[in-house]
């Protein structure tokens, strides 16, 4: 009798598991819930940021030279602010009511009022201004810039006081930095040095390099799982991989397949998934989705087609949405794809 019950439980459990997996296959880990067109926005889209409370998405239209504003509640593209030279990223800081926009080719950071989006200030860095990250406790912005584009053998991560809009100093990096991730409790920043395929870890208190390792490919973007101290790095060129590292030692934990020209890596702590958008300037683009089974074990679940040339994306846990920027190229209309993770 006891054996029969045990068998029934196992049977029931396996039935539930297969049903769940069938459901997952049917719907996928990400469901496209909305497509927000941005007609007239030409060329590649770069990085994004969100105003969670105001339900606004800011998108750097790098080739269009504009900042695009999307109303996420109404699902409408509402505004295009022109006048940038290759804008690469924006950073919305609600507590200061500011949006900071970095532009690569003129090395500027322009500062807008967060609510009205009126230009209020600007700061000249150097050519190559790229990613911006805001650190709420210190109210500092970290901005990557410099490097070969600016005519230097080295890059910089500038520390900007987000209150005064003044440059306070730099962390000197071996080459042009791409993504900058904050690791607040440890007073550290992770800097992806894509040209050299490196990840550099700096102590922000004294700007000292405390850890560095090479990834074997152009390490452009990354995401941090703060809970499990895991860093996810995707490489832009061969070997095209999503590599999992121990964030404290740099030791490799796992490596999984990806595809070319990736430009966005995000960790979804709710669903224990990693999203990697691949295909910048390629005919076909995808979101690669990986499952974190435990901190040391990962599997590739699926890849989801997004369009042509869509490399950048943005995960907003507060809204439970994953946004992919589809460029306006040839007959394809620029758009923001809104994905919702499925259980």
């Amino acid at each position: 009798m006891r054996g029969q019950i045990a068998f029934s439980v196992i049977w029931l459990v396996s039935l539930v598991i297969s049903a769940a997996s069938l459901y997952a296959q049917a719907t996928g880990p990400l469901r496209l819930v909305q497509t927000i067109p941005m007609p007239g926005v030409k060329g590649r889209l770069d990085h994004m940021d969100v105003d969670v409370e105001g339900k606004r998405l800011f998108v750097a239209a790098v080739e269009n030279g504009s900042m695009e504003v999307v109303d996420l509640e109404g699902g409408r593209w509402t505004r295009s602010i022109a006048g940038f030279k290759t804008p690469t990223e924006m950073c919305y800081v609600r507590e200061l009511n500011k949006v900071f926009v970095a532009s690569r080719d003129d090395g500027m950071v322009r500062i807008f009022r967060g609510d009205t989006l009126d230009l209020v200030d600007s700061l000249k860095l150097e050519v190559g201004a790229n990613r911006i990250t805001y650190d709420p406790p210190s109210k500092y912005l970290y901005v990557g810039y410099g490097g070969k584009l600016a005519g230097f053998d080295y890059g910089r991560v500038g520390l900007i006081d987000a209150r005064s809009n003044k440059l306070l100093g730099d962390v000197v990096v071996e080459a042009h930095p791409s993504q900058i991730l904050l690791d607040n409790p440890a007073h550290r920043i992770f800097v992806a040095v894509w040209e050299l395929g490196k990840i550099d870890v700096f102590d922000v208190r004294d700007r000292r390099l405390v850890l560095t390792w090479t990834t074997g490919g152009q390490s452009g973007d990354m995401a941090l799982d703060q809970t499990h101290r895991r860093l996810f790095v995707a490489t832009r060129n061969a070997p095209q991989l999503m590599i999992v590292y121990d964030a404290d030692s740099g030791q490799e934990i796992a490596r999984l397949p990806a595809e070319g020209r990736m430009n966005g890596v995000y960790y979804d702590g709710w669903h224990k998934r990693i999203y990697v958008t691949c295909g910048r300037e390629l005919p076909a683009s995808f979101v690669f989705v990986y499952q974190q089974n435990d901190p040391d074990h990962y599997e590739f679940i699926t890849k989801i087609a997004t369009g042509s040339g869509a490399g950048t994306s943005f995960w907003v846990p507060q809204l439970n949405h994953f946004y992919v920027g589809v460029p306006g190229v040839e007959k394809q209309q620029a758009a923001i794809l809104v994905f919702e993770p499925q259980p």
Binding site: F152, L167, G169, D170, V172, D206, R207, R208, L209
Partner: protein
Amino acid sequence: MNKYGPIVFLLGMSLTPGARAQNPAPMHLVQTIVLPDVEGYFDHMAVDVKGQRLFVPGEHQRTIEVVDLRIGKRIHTITGFGGDPRKTIYIPETNEIWVDDGDATCKAFSGENYQLVKNIPLSGHELDADSRRVPDNGVYDPVKQLFYLGNRADGLKKGGIQGSIEIVDIKNGKYLGSIEVQGLNPAGLVLDPGSPRMFVVMGDTSQLLVIDRDKRTVLASWPITGGPEPHAVAFDPAHRRLLIGSRVKRGHLYKPGKMVVMDSDSGKVIDAIDTEGGVDELEYEPASKRVYYTGTTGFVEVFQQIDGDHYKSLGLVATGPIAKTSLFVPQLRRFYAAVPKHVILVPPVPQSKEATIIDAKILVYDVMP
């Protein structure tokens, strides 16, 4: 004053907030790189911007300490000097570190493995240590790739020998000759990039020498009125101004010192401004029009040039006791000051046995725009 007097005095100074400090500070400390076991004075540093290395001559213990600025640690110590190494330069094109050596040579080390690659005798190298002049400060001409070294005669037991400027061809690794000067201590040198002129301040005679470096002749000698013991000099070509760092009395600790502003065409002294004592380094940055005046009395004073004739203090930045040399690297917007190992004693001295020993260190500052 007993031997620890100056140190105790300095400690007192360093605990006093800069009386003239104004906000915002022109630079702020971001990192401290400790150099344990390095004893004695440091001298003139050089930087490898691309490789993020700082070369710090430990003149007293006759080493060059190689510091990796990324990780903030010493990675190598260059040894093998016959005298005191004092003025380092780094040549990015060849990845070489050049330095004068107190045994009357100029040496080059590989920036890759730090091995000695050149050892060039200067004038008088063949003489005994009591009779030969000693190179100290220097200046590099990157266009002609010539290294000019101020050769001192003030420490010689024999009289009647004057100082000289030694010329080393970095490109071909050859000694080119010397320019004889009136006076014993050519202490600070600077080049006019727009002409063959070189300016040399004489620490013992209080004269500024104008030298034609092509013809290797002294063109003029101007008195540095109000700055009796000049040790450092910078040149502002736009305003035709020489900024001269002078000590007022012998040694490193008398304060105030002077910053003498001189017209570089006429030799006219425009001003002599009170500032830190024991100056050993003075740098002018044309882009920001700022002057970094490094005294040995515990502070760097930063001046803003209003125009050629007027300078406003932006404040005193604390360094450390006997931190006489520094390096401003405009490309990195960083300023490095070398603080030697020192002892802190609480008065009354020397009855106190409770001496605190502070290791040598490099202080790293972000220079504010």
